[in-house]
Amino acid sequence: MSSQLMDRQPQPSEAPLPPAKAVRKAFSSPFSSLLVVVLTVLWTIPTLGLLVTSVRPKQDVADSGWWTFFTHPDATLANYHTVLFEGGFGVSGGLMPYLVNSLAISVPATVFPLVIAAMAAYALAWVPFRGSDTLFFLIFALQVVPLQMTLIPLLQLFSGGAHVGGATIVPALNLSGTYAPVWLAHTMFALPLATFLLHNFISQLPRDLMEAAVVDGASHFKIFRSIVLPLCTPALASFAIFQFLWVWNDLLVALTFAGGTPEVAPMTVRLAQLSGSFGGHWELLTAGAFLSMIVPLLVFFALQRYFVRGLLSGSVKG
């Protein structure tokens, strides 16, 4: 599924293709159209409720349902101010530091695996050596490992180092309170999928071009920088968007490796905490949740086509 989707050019969206028309006609009726509309409305209402609640004054939210907003409109941005800068959940400190953490975690955790995987994919595709095919398959097969299988040992490694029979191989790294463990963990987990996808793309580059470059005396490093990377931009962009959203929306890795402090924890971790302990403050919780969604929603609506391709290709990740 993925390879096919990565290769497919973004079609001028939804130009009605003649094929499957017949089946669709057979299935069409005003009734089914009505059902689609009903389902779409059903699918949208919960998010709308969140958005509306986040701009209503505190007392209104506590006293009446958000649907009454449309008969008694009274909007304010105070909730956003409170939740960002003041706290207001009965705890001090707003969500601002967490929002910044989300960004500071997501960008490097996208760039690192992208570059490292592109390098590995290039070597596996264009610098063949004994066992390179097997190696590629092994990397590809590592996609079956669920995150859960790696968390405990990795956490032990980051906090206590690695020892074999009393000998220290890796010393205890004092990384707590920094982004490094989260960046590293995300990079490690992203590599199998990223290498696989980029290998698909890089191995399809024209052979003539590569050979011409070698004849001209370019080193592998020069070829990688000046031919491979520029030609791979679409694949890199697709994966970057997928990975960025994956990291931004992730809870498991962040919770395990960042802890819950405002120094490093991202929005998802903080919101999960607040949802548990301060569920009553809906005007603040909804504002916080919406803040965490703005970035992914912007990416979604602006880059929907790339987003879909990246998402489909990455659907087995995690």
């Binding site: 089946v23 389902l39 958000w66 003041e86 070597a123 987990f189 199998p192 929306n249 809870l251 919101l271």
Partner: protein, 346 residues
Amino acid sequence: MLLTGATQLAGSGSAGALLADSGWNDVAVKLGNSVGAIAGFLGVLLVVFFAAGRATGRFGRPLAIGIFLGPALLLLLVGLVVPLVRTVFLSFYSDDSKRFLGGKNYSWALTTDSVHQVLLNTLLWLVVAPFLATGLGLLLALWVDRMRGQTVYKSLIFMPMAISLVGASIIWKFVYDARDSAQNQIGLLSQTVIWLGWKHPPNWILSHPLNNFLLMAVMIWVQTGFAMVVLSAAIKAIPDEVTEAARLDGAGGLRLFWYVTVPMIRTTLVVVLTTVMIVTLKAFDIVRTMTGGNFGTQVLANEMYSQSFVQFNVGRGSALAVILFLAVLPLVGYNIVQLRKERATR
């Protein structure tokens, strides 16, 4: 440092200007760290590339392979391969990893009542959520493509996929909010059933076993759009001649759907189904955010997290992780084989 200062000031609530100042400082430091890390990473690479690019002759090629592949292999080894083996190893040991227990952690997982409930819930999730999401997605894929303004419908139904599961859980927790019937309801579900004539709706999140299905609704809400988009692409790819031939033979409506469309997209259907199953098995965000695993809603992925990182039962947590791995393995394996087949036939 700056940050703790900032939060204290916010707590006292008196020095607004100062808060803003040190707050922005904190932002600058954090983003600076992040940009610095990227710049450093790329800088080191550039230097290595430049230096290694001058090496020629016999060592040029192995050196290039080492530099290109080394970082990825090292990270995969440290981050995935070694932990994988070590988790299996830990699952046979006591929680302090000192005493060998044999299969005790596993027999604990398979015979304890509370874990039974967890496994049962997980199975329920695995059966209900993926099938409903895929089924709804298939129907929508069939219906939506011939409608005017289909892009709008598709976008709106697909949108939840962009939201984090934490965000989605908060959205739905608000929908399920329940209050004493003397007060105005603020949760949409309670209000809706009251409008429909049910005077005293229950507290949804607390009502077992209903709450399990209410939590699954979140997963279905997120995954239906995914199923719809993938299946819609598959239906569009069915060759014209196939449907034409079937129609000439007199097939139409439901028969056309069952005997032509479904067999033609069978592979995609199964891949979508298994993909949603994998996501469902591994997702712990929904349960964690909405109930914390209380009220009889615990699932395997969240139990594994709680055992390992809340109660620090490393042995038991590892055993649960291994069980999760074994459950996911056939599904992912199947998907990977399909993927390779598709590549091979093209």
